[in-house]
Each structure stands twice: as structure tokens, then as C-alpha cells.
Symmetry: C2
Subunit: 352 residues, 2 copies
Amino acid sequence: MSVTIRDVARAASVSVATVSRVLNGKGPVRDETRRRIRRIARRLSYVPHGAARSLITKRTSTLGVLLPDLHGEFFSEVIRGMDVSARRHGFHLIVSSSHSDGRETEALLRAMRGRVDGLIVLSPDLGVRKLLSNRPAELPLVLLNCADHGSFDSIRIDNRGGALAMTRHLRSLGHRCIAFVGGPAGNHDASERRRGYREALRSAGSGRATGLELPGDFREESGYRAADEILRARPRPTAVFAANDAMAIGLLCAFRERRVQVPSEIALAGFDDIPIARFLTPALTSVRIPIFELGARAVERMLQLLTSGPVPATRAKESTLPTTLRIRRSCGAISGDRPGQDFSLERRREAR
Amino acid sequence: MSVTIRDVARAASVSVATVSRVLNGKGPVRDETRRRIRRIARRLSYVPHGAARSLITKRTSTLGVLLPDLHGEFFSEVIRGMDVSARRHGFHLIVSSSHSDGRETEALLRAMRGRVDGLIVLSPDLGVRKLLSNRPAELPLVLLNCADHGSFDSIRIDNRGGALAMTRHLRSLGHRCIAFVGGPAGNHDASERRRGYREALRSAGSGRATGLELPGDFREESGYRAADEILRARPRPTAVFAANDAMAIGLLCAFRERRVQVPSEIALAGFDDIPIARFLTPALTSVRIPIFELGARAVERMLQLLTSGPVPATRAKESTLPTTLRIRRSCGAISGDRPGQDFSLERRREAR
DNA sequence: TTGTATGCGTTATCAT
DNA sequence: ATGATAACGCATACAA
């Protein structure tokens, strides 16, 4: 068996209470006793048992994270943000990725009780309502990029604003027919981006602008497939806005094969600003989203929720993180030749 | 407070023991009693307390995962593999990414006791030795892609074999001077890939081959920077093998800016086969590594370690996962035009 | 078939 | 300043 607090107490000829006091720095202990216990504990390489401790303290110092089946860059960044933020406060992350069907999610939530102090749920796919119903009652909750905020704290990325800004940017470059390749049906990020696109088309600007929406699923392949339809369309769009960079890359690939020059013959823009965007040829214009910060903020919010009292009466808050336009060569706005030439148009919008 | 097993027992007018038996399906219980308890438990939406349960059962159904600061695709895939595999067996994952310095890691390991049944450590950066010393003694351990296997179970990817195969492939295409852009110093994956590259150069083949090694750090930027030096070198390499795809993309970008045609003027190959590799122009030849499977296998191994008895005398095993060559246009071996044209040369090597 | 009682490892409350 | 002891929520050996 593992060495327990009793072993330390016995070896030091004191009671377990004293050992506990020393190790937690609580209560008065004679200096000499403290040092002796510390030494012995180290010599025995004693490590407190987490489960036992949290059974009595009612705190696990652990946060549960529920994620859907996310694509590479996004997934790792959001976790990194959470992890950095959590560790700074001595918290751990118990993550569960690719939760799809509701039954599985339910089982997951059940298993979380007694293991986490709070839950962070990222669910771009609609359907958070079900979640609330069968979640262990008093478990604090923070929603990420969710469709219906309901009465829960939520942090989201300004997808709509980013798409709006990008589409307007394309219009400002003179494009009058702008195609849009969308994301998966039911995905909240995707529908918000489409909303921004539509809004920008409708809004008064320099001249009329028409649109053309094509289906996509956030994967390269779907962008590749959308290209043909775009090129066949009459009037042919002079610009394409893909709902994410992966699809934009698929489009870029297809355009090159068809010998359609980007951006001279057709402009291209993406969303996400993944690291390789600026290393493509032409460098891909995109909308940068603060993924790391999204994760970090979620944890911060959760932590202040946890320390603000047992049943925090603090009203649910929702905040929106701003996106940033990364203008590069693919949209035809600039003619620079080297990567790293990043011109940024920033766009901020913070909600309560 | 949350509803406990006692609440259920009281509501059902039975003892907690009976409730426990029903919920765990152990021991004989009268059918009618069972149904009644089940109904009441559901009505009260009772959920067992994880910490309390694991305190007595000595099992947490949770696996600890220690990861370094990984790049996008790799990170998400390995976690996905673990998660899928873990959930299938009713296990959870408590992950901690970007563990860098040893002190932090030590604190992390301490906090793991009583919260996890085993530990999976991915540490391409050398220095696992320290880990073993201050880890809670009887915690089962599985190493991933580690330098020194020591006496621990470990699963690794055949980095050396993949690099060997790719370099030979380039030689077989007639290249006699092949440059190599390496990964971060101290990174085990990187050094194994370099080892394979060197081995292939030394080994007898069709004619002599010379090399040229350049530093890199696995990021696009470092590949971009390496390009100039490669183009200046005399004799100028006719092929470049980048230790990962990100750097290959940087190289591709730089070559295009310098108007150096790939593959006609210089061939290019990467490592990892990230999803966008086949959508680049030219499509990037690369070495596919089974990341998902790496994670999945790690969990499987851990689980069989856990169920093989309290202190499994089963000798530490190490296995190596095979890589696969993905030959595309960038190396000049084929002249296809459409993405999805994947020719595969497989290479297997399984160790005990 | 069911109930009683004990213990898991820790912290917290009260004595001393 | 320190020690004895009661929880915490659950599973289980044993008794009934």
C-alpha cells in the first residue's frame, strides 16, 4: 500500500491532526515539530490522497471540460488556454472530447460528480438544453460558443462580427458577387459566420452585392468540391469567403488546378487564421479568432464563479471575444511578397 | 447539498447497503425492491460521488495524461485516440498539457495521487529519468515516444524507420544531394528522424549520396528560413526532407517566392502527413504517422496493465507503430494532378 | 434477501 | 501546541 498520513504521524510520534496541520499550513504548530514532520514526510515521500481530501473539503481542484469532435488547431489551442489558466490557480482539467450523442453525454455528466468542481462545455452543435436538465444540480457551468446562452455564463467568439467585417472588406475591394462556403449544419460557429456574411451583403454599402451560398463541412475536401460550382455559377463570383481556413485551402487547391488565378481572377478569404495561413501561396487572408484566450477566459470565469460563494447569486454573464482581420495576398488587397506582412484591421465588440 | 445514497435509502425505506447493491448490480436483491430503488434513485436524480467511491474501491476509473507543449494536429489526435479508447472502457482522462520544467511536473505528479489509476506520459523532450524518481510509487506508467524506455512500458512511433524509408525513396528517384531540416534540439522524435535520414545516406544504394543538415524547430517559420541556406549551398541539394510538414510548408512558401519550382528544380518531402498536405500545390509527399492509434494503444496498454493484477509482474513491453509513406507530387515521383491520389509504400516493423 | 457495522484517508471540531 | 475523534459518501464482510 501507499504511505498515508498515519504512517507519517506514527514515524513522527505525533497525531495525524498535527501532520495535517503542518502540511496544510493551518493552525499553530511548534516550529521544531513542523520541521521534523516536513522532513519525515519528505523522507517517506508522502503524497496526500486526492480523493480522500476532496471528500471532506468538498473541493476537487479539478474542472471538467466537455468538447465535441473538434479539428486540430482549435482543439489544442482551447485546451492549452484552459490548462495554462487552470494550472496557474492549482487546478486540473479532466477533459472529454468528441461527445456526440446525448446518451453518452449524460453518462459523462453523471460520472463527473465528486470529481470536478465545475463544468466547461464547448458545444457549437446546438442542443445544450438537454444538457442542463440532467446535469448534477449544483455544478457550476460555463458555456463556450454555445447557441442558446439561457441563464448560464457563457463566453463566445464574435463569429458574426468577424464574418461581417471580412465580407465588408471584400465589398470595399470592389467585389459585387461574393460566394460563401458554409460549415456543418447545426454548427453554431458556422451559422453565426453565415449570418455575418448575409448581413454584410444586405447592408447598404458602395453599390449592390449579390451572394452565393454553398454547403461545406469545415473540411478541406468540401472546399475543394465547392470550387467547381463556384466557377460554373453565372454571374461568376469574383470573391469567395470560406467559413474556415481548411475549406479555403481546399478551394485554393481546386482553383490552382483549374488554372484560376488567386487573387487576380478570384479573391479568397478564410476564417480562423491557422498558423499556415500566411505560408500559403498566395498567403491566405483570414479572420483571426482568439482561441487560446477563449479557453483561458472560460477557466478564469469558472474560478471566480467557484470562489464567489457556495451558490453564487451573481447573474449569469456573457462576453464576446473580438476577432481580427488578417489581410494578406489572397484577397487581392495587397501585393506584398513576403510572409509575415500582416496588416490588421481590428474589430472589437464586448457585450456584458 | 447534493443527494447521497442515504437519501435514496431513506426514501425507499431500506438500508444504504441495499441501495449500493442495486446500483452496482452486486449481491442478491429482490426484484421488486430493485425496481423500487431504481425508480426512486432516478426520481431523486441521484449520482454516486466519485471521490467517495474511489476512496473505498481504490479505483478512480481515471487516467492521467502528461503532455508537453505540442503543436495542433498531433495534440488533438493523440488525445482523441486516448479518449475514444478510454471511454469505451468507462475511463476518464485528466490531461495536463505543456509540462515543461521539472518542478512543475513534480507538483503535478503529486496532485495525481488518488485521482488517477495510471499515468500516460508523452515526453519527446528527453528527461524521463527525473520523472520516475519522484512519482507516487505504485502508479502504473506508460511512456509514449520517449527516449529512454528504461524498464517501463512504452509505445512509440517508428520515426527512424519512416525517415529511413523516405530518404531512400528520394535516393531511388535519383537524388544525390538531399538536405534535411531538423527539429528542436533534445526532441526525441526529431533526433530519431534525423537518425533515419543519416542511416539512409550512409547505407549502400544506387550511387553515393551526400547530405546537408539544417536546424529547425518544427514551426513553419524555421522551414521558411532554412530555404535560403539550402539554395545557396554548393553543391545545391536537389531534394529537401523536412522533419515535419509545418517546416515543409515554410520551405514550399520560400521556394515559390524565389521562383524555384517544386519538384522540377527541387524535390520536397515532409513528415506527419497532416490533413492539408494533400491540398498543397504541389501536394506534399510525407510520412504518415498513426497518432490516433498511438493514443488508443497507450490507453489499451494501460488498461491491461491495470487489470493484470495489483502489482503486475508482466515485464515491460515496448512496441513500435509503423509509419507509411505518402507519395505525392512534391517529391517528383508522380505527375498526377488531382488531390486524393495517394500512393502508399508501407513499412512495418513491430518490436516486442 | 436485507441490515449493521467498519473502514477508505483526510480535514475539522473539539478537548486538553 | 497537540491529540482524540467525528464526519465525508460509499462499498462490503458479516450477521440476521
